[in-house]
Structure formats: structure tokens, C-alpha cells
Symmetry: C2
Subunit: 560 residues, 2 copies
């Protein structure tokens, strides 16, 4: 049996585009004699469609798309994902479903059982979980069809009381097929391979896993679809971060033709109690995820050109390099806005950077704007000493100049704030926190340096001086980040324990961090929820990014 | 049996304050010879604690608070709410629970069954639903204890497949007790009374319902706790929007001493298929909810003083009046910032308003700042004609001036945008969309006028001219909202059908709206998701507010 997998990048709610892509893939598979083609979760609508699925009209459009696609599923079996109405009176209105199409008919509809409702996921908000299970018969084989999370409970996942594959095994299936939309984070690639393999080892039948690819606002889907034979040998590994269609010939014995990419013995199994040690960051994957995030945000919003403030600091340098890669250097305009407190070095470094990247840049002085604010406010400020208010005015003057140019010429402003700053509230609302997309908002400062070194891996694109000088906001004479914040080497590790690991102050202190610093830092994190609440979407690369996956009360009084 | 209800306003995560409040109420009830005291849902932590509950430390603090409170539950039964650990290995880590405390012991822990996961609610994100039920015996009576949503499925709620009160009735309980944290919207007061009464009619035993009061960022809890005797006569109705403690003497026959406030026959029952007609807006309730929202946002964030831009328009006038009521006029500073395109009338109206309200105000000219932006940008703008970019510069100049004064003196900036503007994207990011709290962001323009008339019900506080003149942003000569937007009388109704009623374009057109207008308006709503995504929290008064209860994809391509 020749089984195809189509790893595609959908646009949420763009039924015309998605349907066309799906039909193209079916045609390719048919032309190559495919028996069956497997797509990712929520194929027709894109994932996550969020509250769009609460519109009846949206669901009708999904169903209409399925029926258009059905006409192409004549002599090939097609597995696509779509929301589907719950016809029973009780329970949520919808199921997260897979349609099995064949002979131009809907042969079966399979419902998802395990509905992730944590971090960035809200599936129980919309969907009723499956409470009945069955296999699908196709060309003499019994197919066990599951959707994403359904194969992530191997009996050891404390989130769920049901294991849908255990239920399906009662029907003695021959093949497992899984439709996924499983987002990237820097821990995910290894986890995924281990979990898929563990399913094969447990159930002893081959598994075809199709994952979505491409970014949807903040969430990056990395593809990397997989095929394992019944002995848990890896037979096919799709690329990360790009579309692909490929196939495997499955024999009756559950083995497959073609070379074994990785024998079962070489792939680690899923650990039942994974260590809580920090994973090794694969910086190339992070880089690709960020490029994908920028590219798809612009592509799907219908924009082509970006603008950003280039300060001569590391964050804007890395953002600029990423944007030039994602959008083409000619489409990324850097604005250098030195203030009275900027060093000459900063401007020179920023100029060199843009020359290295070949992107257009302008120098705009903010003095006149800054001074006009001070003069206008003078009667009210009444001689009070220079304070944070004046620093913020500088930052907002820059933000306004960037937004004005963006509005005038149709650019999207890229934000350059990093995760360490966002965590501690070290940023100005409507100033350096302005922008349409937070490129580095899920990267701690030290990870930004890692990205810089990766960008410079073959040639010096980011000037050495930008990497080596001490970080500064340059909002008052000789200012350094270290005046207000602890050393990033300490701060980032502390933040990681609180934000990613949800550790208590006591636990973090037990790890050797200074007690007063722990209390002060956590207080900064919790007191700045109101600022992050107004921040733009952040490209997610970690298992716990600020934004949609981390939902904190603003008026809370916990550790604050 | 003398049963007390304590309707209180908790602060999320402020265990010290909450515990102290709870103990005070217990002492009051004990001093008056109470047998039992009922509190609201998630008493010790405040509701909704959101992702705070994912911290083990937070749950330990909840448990510690329960054990402190337990020591006061000696000769009185105490029912309080708290998250509690799920001791089984499978399912989510926590239950949303009620503790029954008596004789200084934890006599029972009751788990919530129906976990609202829609609109502003995320309970399935954190909690495992109950799957076993039992009653609690107390002084010869059998108590059926439920939590909030548990009594909102009368067998007809399509969201759920279980009816927990049906399960509890198998044990022949004598009394229903419900701990709630059920948020206000302008449809809720009538609904609540009808649902509570319908439970009594169905199960034929008395019901004690305790609801939380006070605002938590965007969500307003309105209290209005209720007691019904077994014949569904209303025996006690707590006030809305304020704390209260009160009691009822329950007789063995299920009836109660004291006057009947409303006989069963006069209270409508819950309609099984409620009409989809718009509810009659109770503008006084909306007004009170907004005042509560402002007051608690400031109180719980630890702020006392507000600032806002007073333009001489209706939105800022109503916001200013609400803020003066909530915070005291002396704590609300209005900044009048006429531009070259403002009429003299606007300034005069704004001055009269502040004189009527007795709040401090200043006039700040924005010309110099605006011109300095234009001059600074002149080399880049290069003679291009006046456009939206210049309008936005004016709006952002104002936003920056307000933020600068706020930063200098410790004010919180109140935002004055209304729901019609936010829906259509008729506002400037970082300009008039700046602020810490969106006071009117859930009120359509016509509802803002209703509020103005309510504010003026006894004397003219908002000058007549502000109410009668055509709305304008005054960002270019003779500008009117109606240049860019349809008439609010049409627009608001259309938006209501799409946003609150989730109607399709076809359905809205069938109601008689102009077809092109429907398409254009819905497109505006969907294309401006990116702007609303960066907006501050909005005090919620409708069943579908922008913000946490409405989650749309930003890169989506549905009806856009």
C-alpha cells in the first residue's frame, strides 16, 4: 500500500487557498499511484482557528471545503482534518475531527479524544471529546486513526484518564495514522520522535504521522512528519519548517521498502519521568523558527515590508538580520535614532550592520521631538528632576517616529524586545515596546547572543563591537542595563526557573540564587503583567512564552 | 438552622487579606449564633486566579489558608472554596473544590463537575471535573453542595453531558448550597434568578446561593446572592456590587422565617430556549459595574489617581464622570489637548465638564510637539500629502503627553475608547488607544450616550453640547466620525449581530442591513484584531466583550 503524507502550510480561514493546496497534493499522490494520503489536523480551516469555530458560518465553510475535496478522493483514500458538528444534544457543539474520504464519499468521521487545554491550547473551549472509538477498513487493512494529542498519552500522561489508542487496539488495527498540528518549541523535536517511536513499540504496528508546517501569528508549526515501520525503525523523516509531500510503500508484514533512516535501537524512547534539566538549545532550529514566524506573519497578513529601530545594540541587530533573511534585505528599513545620550559608537555600529546586510537605513535625530515634549510639559513638570518619565519620553519619541514612517509608507514595525526585558518590565509601553510582531520576545538575552553568534557563523554580519559591548538603553548618560538589572548570566537562569519551571521562590533560593534577588526579580515579573498584556504577539520558541500560553491575573497580589 | 451567606470582594493571590476577611465573617456569624456560613467560589485565592494555580507554591498557600480558617470553624459549619490537588495519578492536577469545615476539621471536600470553558472562562485548563458525587451530613441535614456552573445545567444545557444535581438527588438531600463566582453582564441578573428558581422547582428543596462581588481586572462580579425556600419563594436577595453578610433561619419543613420578598409565582422561570432578542439594558447596573471596575482596578493595583485626555467629546466626558464617582473627583486629572483642528467649543465644553465635576484639569497645547514630529520627519516624508500618518501623529502626541504626566506623578491613564471604535479599528495604537484600563471598551457608542443621560438624570453634569454635537476625532479640519464610519444607530446594531450574536454576513443582510455595509463592517472588525490585541483590559459589561473572552486569530483570513 502506497501511503502519502502531505506536510503543508495553511492559512487560517482561507478556505480557497487551503482547499486548492489540498487538492494539488491529492492530484500529485494520484498521479504517482498512491493508495492513501494523510494530511495534518484541521486541514481545511488551518489550526488554531480559535473563536472563528464559534461561527456557524465558519463551520459550514469547513464542511463545504470537505465536500469539494471529496470529489477528488475517487480511487485514493484521503484523510483530512476539520471541525464537525456534534449531532447529539448534549456536550459541546463541535468535535475536532478527521474525515476519511474515498470513492467520492465520506466513509468515516473520527473524533479527537484528548483535547489539549493548557499553555497555548484551548481545545476544550470548543470541542467535545470522543467517547466512542472504531477503526476504518480500507483495502483489506484496519486503520487506527487518531488526531495529534491522542497518541501523546501512553498511559503515563497525568492530564488524561483515557488512552484512545488502547481503545482502538481492541479492534486489532494494522496501521496507525495520526493527523497533527503540534507546535515547535526547542524541546519538541526530540520529544516528538521519542513519543512516536514509543507508540510503535507499545502497539507493534506501523505509524504514519503528519504534522502541519508554517506559522500562525505566534505559534510556529515545524512539520517534521515521520513514518515508522512496525519494528520502530524510522523510515521517513520530513524536513522541518518547510512544505513537503512524500510517500512510503507499506508491505503486508508491516515493514516498508526503502532504506532505514534510523534503526529503532538508535532512537531514544520517551522517558516516563523526563528529567527537568534544561534542554540543549538547538540554535539553528530556533533561528529557523524565528525566520518562519516573521515570513508567515507578513505573508499571511498581506504585508511585504518591515521597519525597525536600529540602536546599535544586540537585540535590534539580531532582529534586523532575521528580518532580512525572512523578507529580503531590500524590504527591511532600519531607522537609527540617536539621542543626546547615545554614543557615536552605537550609530557607527548600526550603520556597519546595515551595510553588511545591504538593507536601507536612515538616521533620524530625536532631539527636536524630545525637546518639544520637555518644553510643552515644562509648566506641568515644574522643575522636577530628570526621572523615568524623561527616559520614557525618549523611548516613545522613537516609537512614534517609527510608527509614523510605518503608517506613511505601509511598513510593519518589528519589535526588538527580548524575554529578559519583557519579564522584568525593563521597557517603555508605546516606546520600545511598540510594534506589530515581537521577534525576540521569547528569547532570553543570553539566547539573543547565541543567535548573534549563529548569524556570524561564517562571516561577521553583526559587528563584533555590538556583541562585545555592555548592554545599555542609552536613555541617560553612561547608562547600563546592569544599573537596573542583575547580570543577565544570573537573571536569565533565575527567570527560567520561575517562568518555564514554575518554581517557588524557596526552591529557587535553594538552588543557590541570592534570596533578595529572587524576591525582587519575581516581584518585577509579576508586577509587570499589565505591560506584557499590551504587547504584540511574540514568536514562540520555548515551552512557556509570554502571550497566549501564559495567562496571569493583572490585579493579582501573588509574590508581588 | 441559621444559615449565613458572606458576599465578599477578594483580591486574587492576596491570601492574608482574603483569609482575614473570611475569618471576620465567621466571627460575625458565630457571634449571632449561626449554624453554617456559606462563602463564594475560590474564596481563599480569589477568582479567577488563572495560571497562578499552576504554581505548586500557590496551591500550598491556598491549603495553608484553609487550615488557618479551619481553626475558626469550631461550633459553626464553614463552606469555603479553594483549588485542591487531585490525588489520583490520572487527569488534571487540580480540582475546583469546596471545603466543608466543622469542629476544626476538614469534614468533606467537594469537587466541581461542570467546568466552564468558554468566553472568559478557562476552567478545564486547570481542573479535572468531578466524577463521583456525595452529600454532606450536618446537624441531621443532608447538604447538596455544588459550585457555580454545577447548577446551570438543568438537563437542557447543551454544553454538558452530566447534571451533578441529578446525581446528588440520589442521596435525598435537604438543602442545596452553591458557591459561585459568576460574573456580571447586562443579561445576567434576570438569568440568574430564573436559573436558581428553576433548580428549586425541579428539586423541591431550598437553595442558598453565594456569589462573589467586586472586580478582577476586566471581570466584574456583582454579588446578588440569593436564598429560595423549598417552594421557590425568594426569601433573601443580597445587594449588587457591594459586600454584605446576612442570614436566614431555615425550618425543618424547608420553609423559612421572615417575609417573602417575591413569591414564586412572580419570578419568571428559566426559558429552555431563550429568545435571541436583545435584552433591555439596565443602564444603572451598567453604570455601577463600570464604577466597580474602576474602583477595584485601582484599589487592587495599589493606585489612587487617574489621568485622562478630555477632548470635549462624549466618550471622555462619560469616562471622566465615572472615574470621579469611583475615585473621587480630586483624584482624577483631566488634560485638555486641543490641536489645530479642534474647535473652541470642544475646549469650552471640556472645561465646563470639569467645573461641573470639580476635578482638576490642565490645558496643554500639542502644536509644538506635533510640528516637531512633522519637521523631524520632513526629509523622509518628502512632501507627500497629509494622510492618516499625520492624524496618528496628533493622536500619539496626546497619548505621549498623557503617559509622560502619568509617569512623572504616578497616575494611571484611563482609556476612553468605546466598543464601536474598537470593533472597527477607528483608533490609533499608542495614541487614543493608550491607557491602563479601558473604561468604555465594552460599551457601544449608543450605550455611551445612554450612560451620559443616566449621569445627567438629576442635574446637567455632562454639558448638553457634548451630548448633542456630532462625534468627531478632530484630527483634520471639519472631520466627523461619519466620514469614515456608518451612522452609529446602524453600525452598533450591525456590530451587535456579528460580535454578540455571531451571525453570518448572510443572516445580517437578511435582517435588512445594506449588503455592502455588512461586508465592509465585518471586514473592519476582522482586520483590526491586531490592534485590539494590544489594547488594555476592558471592563466587561456585555456577554461578549473584546479581550480575554473573545479570542480570534490575528493572521486569519475569514471574512476579511
Amino acid at each position: 500500500m502506497k501511503i502519502f503524507i502531505a506536510q503543508q502550510n495553511y492559512h487560517i480561514g482561507n478556505f480557497e487557498l487551503n482547499t486548492q493546496k489540498i487538492i494539488e497534493a491529492i492530484k500529485t499522490a494520484k498521479a504517482a499511484g498512491g493508495d492513501l494520503i494523510l494530511f495534518s489536523e484541521m486541514t481545511v480551516s488551518g489550526y488554531p482557528a480559535r473563536d472563528f469555530v464559534e461561527f456557524e458560518d465558519f463551520i459550514e465553510k469547513c464542511t463545504a471545503a470537505v465536500h469539494i475535496i471529496k470529489e477528488h478522493a475517487d480511487n485514493i483514500g484521503v484523510l483530512i482534518g476539520s471541525p464537525v458538528k456534534n449531532k447529539h444534544l448534549k456536550g459541546k457543539d463541535l468535535f475536532n475531527a478527521a474525515y476519511f474520504l474515498y470513492e467520492k464519499e465520506v466513509k468515516a468521521i473520527i473524533h479527537k479524544t484528548l483535547l489539549p487545554t493548557y499553555d497555548v491550547f484551548d481545545e476544550y473551549r470548543y470541542f467535545e471529546p470522543a467517547y466512542e472509538w472504531n477503526i476504518v477498513e480500507f483495502k483489506g487493512k484496519k486503520l487506527a486513526i487518531t488526531i495529534c494529542e491522542d497518541i501523546w498519552n501512553l498511559g503515563d500522561n497525568p492530564l488524561y484518564r483515557i488512552c484512545p489508542m488502547d481503545e482502538l487496539m481492541k479492534f486489532n488495527p494494522d496501521i496507525m495514522l495520526n493527523l497533527s498540528a503540534s507546535p515547535f518549541d526547542y524541546t519538541h523535536d526530540e520529544d516528538r520522535k521519542a513519543v512516536i517511536k514509543s507508540n510503535v513499540l507499545k502497539y507493534k504496528i506501523p505509524l504514519f504521522y503528519c504534522n502541519a508546517v508554517g506559522s500562525q501569528t505566534e505559534i510556529v508549526f515545524d512539520g517534521a512528519s515521520l513514518v515508522f515501520d512496525k519494528d520502530a525503525n524510522l523510515m521517513k523523516a520530513f524536513p522541518m519548517f518547510e512544505e513537503a509531500i512524500d510517500w512510503v510503500e507499506l508491505n503486508d508484514d508491516g515493514l516498508m521498502n526503502g532504506p532505514i533512516l534510523e534503526p529503532a535501537s538508535r532512537i531514544p524512547e520517551k522517558e516516563l519521568n523526563p528529567a527537568t534539566l534544561d534542554p540543549q538549545l538547538n540554535i539553528e532550529q530556533v533561528y529557523q523558527a524565528l525566520v518562519s514566524g516573521i515570513k508567515d506573519y507578513f505573508g499571511k497578513m498581506g504585508f511585504t515590508k518591515a521597519i525597525l529601530g536600529s540602536s546599535g545594540g544586540i537585540d535590534s541587530a539580531v532582529t534586523l538580520a532575521l528580518a532580512c533573511d525572512a523578507l529580503g534585505a531590500e524590504n527591511v528599513r532600519a531607522i537609527l535614532m540617536p539621542s543626546p545620550y547615545s554614543t557615536n559608537h552605537s550609530v557607527n555600529d548600526a550603520v556597519t550592520l546595515s551595510k553588511n546586510l545591504h538593507n536601507p537605513y536612515d538616521i533620524v535625530q530625536i532631539d527636536q521631538v524630545y525637546n518639544s515634549f520637555l518644553e510643552t510639559l515644562q509648566p506641568l513638570f515644574n522643575g522636577l528632576p530628570f526621572s523615568l518619565a524623561e527616559e520614557n519620553i525618549q523611548s516613545r519619541s522613537r516609537g512614534n517616529i517609527l510608527m509614523a514612517i510605518a503608517n506613511k509608507f505601509g511598513y510593519v514595525l518589528l519589535n526588538t524586545s527580548n524575554k529578559s526585558e519583557l519579564a522584568t518590565g525593563y521597557g517603555t509601553l508605546y516606546g520600545d515596546m511598540a510594534g506589530g510582531l515581537g521577534v525576540l520576545g521569547d528569547c532570553y538575552k543570553l539566547q539573543v547572543y547565541e543567535l548573534a553568534r549563529f548569524i556570524n557563523r561564517t562571516t561577521e554580519i553583526i559587528p563584533h563591537n555590538i556583541i562585545s559591548k555592555p548592554p545599555s538603553a542609552e536613555l541617560r548618560p553612561n547608562q547600563k542595563d546592569s544599573d537596573s538589572l542583575p547580570d543577565y548570566a544570573v537573571l536569565d537562569k533565575l527567570l527560567f526557573q520561575y517562568i518555564e519551571k514554575l518554581q517557588s521562590p524557596a526552591n529557587i533560593k535553594d538552588q543557590g540564587f541570592d534570596a533578595a534577588l529572587v524576591d525582587r526579580t519575581i516581584k518585577m515579573v509579576n508586577n509587570n503583567e499589565y505591560k506584557r498584556n499590551q504587547f504584540c504577539p511574540i514568536i514562540r520558541i520555548s515551552p512557556k512564552a509570554f502571550g497566549v500560553g501564559r495567562r496571569m491575573p493583572i490585579v493579582g497580589k501573588y509574590l508581588s
